[in-house]
């Protein structure tokens, strides 16, 4: 077991990773904060209102976009030959190298994003009050935990599972691809989605030939349990299966990494 994971070695490697990348992480946080402040400010200026659930759309969309950029640029040492040599020969196990990236790029990023979004909304509100005070309105009191407090529906669960699987897809892509990892990963995601569309189209033509025309799959979702219909369950199933497969895939691809 010690050859796979040792807490002391992991903490040393984690500290080392932070010491060499702290500038990049800091700059990313600053850029993300500026981006979020601008997005929220523009939204306030154009809508002059901020209701209880308004943040959900901005929160989710900006998270997805920034997650693709932050997680998709994981394993930066794998992008060139000299860095790959250096990365592979660092005396830490593959699992530790994998976990450091997973922890920084997914877990830390998600927590930091949540904090930055909360700060950005408060800042955007203050800027709005300073610049456009005549159209003053009372902003919905967005507390630190607001994003986590909403009652979730089946649709939001399927959305969560989709976001998780996108994060894991870009994480796996960053471990697999050498050059242009982000571009190749995004291309792979689209190819994967296109594959699902083709599959649904074929099934639609086979099982519903009367109502299917051309390239439009005719889906007839059925309610399975409460508000969960077959479409939502399909989305959750695809997301769960890809997530379960992608985590070990990224690990083993990293383990078998060669020059």
């Amino acid at each position: 077991m010690e050859k796979y994971f040792n807490p002391t070695r992991f903490s040393k490697y984690f500290r080392y990773n932070l010491s060499i990348h702290y500038k990049a992480y800091f700059i990313t946080c600053i850029i993300l904060l500026i981006g979020l402040v601008c997005t929220n400010y523009i939204y306030l200026c154009s809508n002059h209102e901020y209701k209880a659930n308004t943040h959900v759309t901005i929160y989710t969309l900006s998270y997805c976009l920034s997650a693709v950029l932050v997680i998709g640029t994981g394993f930066p040492e794998l992008r060139s030959k000299s860095k790959t040599i250096y990365f592979i020969t660092i005396p830490a196990s593959i699992l530790e190298k994998y976990l450091v990236q997973f922890f920084i790029r997914i877990i830390c990023f998600t927590i930091i994003y949540h904090v930055l979004f909360w700060i950005s909304l408060k800042l955007a509100h203050h800027f709005y009050m300073l610049t456009d005070y005549k159209k003053h309105f009372v902003i919905y009191d967005y507390s630190f935990f607001s994003a986590l407090e909403n009652g979730y529906s089946s649709k939001s669960y399927s959305l969560f599972s989709l976001i998780i699987s996108i994060c894991l897809l870009v994480f796996t892509g960053s471990a697999i691809y050498k050059k242009f990892a982000l571009f190749k990963t995004v291309f792979t995601i689209f190819a994967f989605l296109f594959g699902i569309y083709i599959l649904l189209l074929i099934y639609s033509h086979i099982f519903n030939p009367e109502v299917t025309h051309g390239f439009y799959p005719e889906l007839q979702p059925r309610n399975v349990y409460q508000e969960y219909n077959t479409m939502i369950l399909l989305m959750i199933a695809i997301s769960c299966v890809t997530s379960i497969l992608l985590l070990p895939l990224a690990y083993f691809k990293l383990k078998e990494k060669e020059l």
């Binding site: 050859k3 500290r15 080392y16 010491s19 000299s82 592979i88 196990s93």
Partner: protein
């Protein structure tokens, strides 16, 4: 150097080829022991760097086995990696100060000797406050060589270590290498600049087209061969190889009357890559 004969590297029937290329190594077998500095010589493209990459787990062999102190390199076991340091021709260094690199990277090597590194940095005239991305290629190389030596790793793989080093630095490199290595360690230096590692190596391995064409200790070579400069070839009895020079010829001949000469590695290397059969 004192030779302690314990097998550190055992390669048996190694087969390897880069994808879409013809076989590079075919049934390569080699055994190396700790307590020596080995010169791995060969022309460009002979397979020297590939062999070092196989030894450090960066590539996996198609068949055969590599054993280094009981570890299979491709497993990338952290205990194996903490006892190995590979200095590549173009080493990557992060954009941080030397002292920050030492502070954060050295703890990953359990036998790291900070004082040894500080002495080497003084020898190489490198300051701990220098930023690694701002210094020249040669300075970066010197720092990485110093860091590698300070790890006290049992296996040091140096790929073209003298590339980019100026003449005084090459001299210092030889000095610090000799001073830093102990008898538990094995240093494998891959180079095509044979003059740079003359006088520091204990063993010569010549690799050509993926095959080991010569593998002998320096003392064996000195016992069996003579390297001298002669005005003409006519007076010499058994000349294995000769090269014309302004004063006559540089020759390799068999030892005469137990008179040992200093091994001219460049001449020997030239003879070997010209397929001259030299039997020791």
């Amino acid at each position: 150097m004192t030779l302690i004969q314990s097998a550190m590297i055992t390669i048996e029937n190694l087969n390897f080829n880069h994808s879409k290329e013809k076989q590079l190594f075919q049934d390569l077998t080699l055994q190396l022991h700790s307590g020596s500095i080995v010169g791995l010589l060969g022309k460009n493209g002979a397979g020297k760097s590939t062999l070092l990459q196989l030894l450090s787990g960066l590539l996996s062999q198609k068949s055969g086995s590599i054993d280094i102190n009981g570890f299979e390199p491709y497993d990338k076991n952290p205990h194996f990696l903490s006892d190995l340091y590979l200095v590549t021709d173009e080493p990557y260094v992060p954009n941080i100060k030397i002292k920050s690199f030492i502070k954060n990277f050295a703890p990953l090597y359990p036998n790291f000797d900070v004082d040894k590194l500080k002495n080497i940095l003084i020898e190489f005239r490198l300051d701990e406050n220098m930023k690694l991305d701002k210094i020249s290629y040669g300075q970066r190389k010197k720092f990485i060589i110093g860091f590698a030596l300070a790890t006290n790793s049992k296996l040091l793989l140096l790929d073209e270590p003298t590339n980019g080093l100026d003449i005084p630095s090459k001299k210092i490199f030889r000095k610090v290498l000799i001073e830093s290595i102990n008898e538990d360690q094995l240093v494998l230096i891959s180079t095509h600049q044979v003059k740079d590692i003359e006088n520091i190596i204990d063993k010569i391995i010549v690799i050509d087209h993926g095959k080991i064409t010569f593998n002998h200790d320096l003392y064996e070579i000195a016992e069996k061969l003579q390297f001298k400069k002669v005005p003409s070839l006519q007076s010499e009895e058994q000349v294995f190889y000769s090269e014309k020079c302004p004063e006559g010829y540089h020759i390799i001949t068999s030892v005469n009357k137990n008179e040992e000469t200093e091994v001219d590695m460049e001449l020997l290397f030239n003879a070997l890559i010209n397929n001259i059969a030299i039997h020791i």
